[in-house]
Amino acid sequence: MKLTLKIWRQENASAKGAMQTYPIDGVEGDMSFLEMLDVLNEQLINKGDDPVVFDHDCREGICGSCSLQINGEPHGPDRLVTTCQLHMRMFNDGDTIVIEPFRAKAFPVIKDLMVDRSAFDRIQHAGGYISVNTSGNTIDANAIPVNKEDADDAFAAATCIGCGACVAACKNASAMLFTSAKVSQYALLPQGRVEATTRVLNMVEQMDKEGFGNCTNTGACEVECPKGISLENIARLNREYLSASIKG
């Protein structure tokens, strides 16, 4: 199929960017979206132009590197997939596709479609861990039974890949779904309860410092999340934060 791509090009963080139009031909339905961009880049390189820069790595939907706002939606029109797993059969011959970086003040553009998501890392540095020593002997794994339902919920929260689609989708560029997933994983496990109070206070404080917007419960994050992280986590985060604030 033949497509028209409108892509955000920006030389570096301080440069002013603009949308540019690229026609592309010979796109097949079996290609992933990133493979389609590979084809474009190969053409650009052969013409002596700079290829389009975008983050990507595992290309199997788990590392969370790939991003892209495609036709107004993070990871494009398909549901429960990352951009690397989005296939071109979702589009039709003659379509125009608008490709932009994830936009948020907390995710500054590095170049073209690549953004700096280290704000997510800093939120996790602030408390995304359980303070146990990593070497030597700890208690036997089965010494702490965990209710299966809690374990499953903790796992579901822990499957967040930190791609930033929640922030990109949210009209407020809020990072609540991400932060809530990280807080929830530990809040649901007995091992994580010990530090639950300081963890949630510190992580939320860091989240606010990074300049993300506020959650207004639009639910866009949950819809666009490639891993289907549930809004229940945000409710849990609110609850955890409230009780932690009261406890001090």
Binding site: K6, W8, M19, Q69, N71, G72, E73, P77, V98, E100, R103, A104, K105, A106, V109, A169, K171, N172, A173, S174, M176, V204, E205, M207, D208, G211, F212, G213, N214, C215, T216, N217, T218, G219, A220, V223, E224, L231, E232, I234, A235, R236, L237, N238, R239, E240, Y241, L242, S245
Partner: protein, 221 residues
């Protein structure tokens, strides 16, 4: 404002003030409804509300504070949220993943604010002047007639109807979402959300009904 500097605290404050206003709406609606079914009751309840010291001296200021707080905080959050995305998308498909109501609380909110202005102009300010400036002798039966006469103009009734539609939209998202904000999410959530959605439609619809009913059932001046 320093006390509520964190994003979650603000969100909870919005939810709680919103819930308070939702509760007030229900109370307001109940009294208004009597204007349709029992004008005498309407008069006596209105008289009570208008003259009771506790209501006027304590509840009324709390209500005004609640309204002002909800608006001011709403504006602050809106500005902060807009700033959180400095460069806008060229293409943003908000409708693909969230309802119009949830994305445009500021619009429905502003319409409601404008309506409040009209409503104050219509009722509250005359009421204050009547009671505290001009110091008329108290007449416990004046309320019904005054109210009915306010709905004489079709333009005003039209403005009221539009405002209540926007109020319904505002509540459609706001009421149910306030439970999420305060962290209430358990096996009762589904039922509670359903209740909130019904409430969001029924109460404004009721207000519309009253306005239209009074418009159609005018009494002589």
């Amino acid at each position: 404002m320093g006390m509520i500097s964190s994003s979650i605290a603000r969100k909870v404050a919005m939810a709680l003030s919103g819930l308070f206003l939702v509760f007030f709406l229900g109370q307001h609606f109940t009294i208004n409804l009597t204007s349709v079914v029992a004008p005498d009751t309407f008069n006596s309840w209105s008289h009570f509300m208008g003259t009771n010291g506790l209501v006027q001296g304590v509840l009324q200021p709390i209500l005004i504070f609640g309204v002002v707080f909800h608006f001011v905080m709403g504006f602050i959050l809106e500005i902060k949220n807009r700033n959180a995305r400095a460069v806008k998308y060229a293409s943003y498909k908000g409708g693909a993943n969230a309802s119009w109501a949830s994305r445009n609380m500021i619009i429905s909110g502003l319409v409601i604010l404008a309506f409040l202005g009209l409503h104050f102009y219509d009722f509250w300010i005359p009421e204050m002047i009547h009671k505290y400036v001009e110091s008329h002798p108290e007449d416990p039966t004046r309320y019904y007639a005054e109210t009915v006469h306010k709905f004489e103009s079709p333009v005003r009734v039209g403005l009221y109807v539009i405002s209540f539609v926007l109020l319904a939209i505002h509540l459609w998202h706001g009421f149910a979402s306030s439970f999420q904000s305060v962290g209430f999410n358990n096996k009762y959530s589904t039922a509670l959300t359903k209740f909130a959605k019904v409430y969001a439609i029924a109460i404004p619809l009721g207000f519309i009904f009253i306005a239209v009913y009074l418009h159609l059932n005018q009494i002589p001046h």
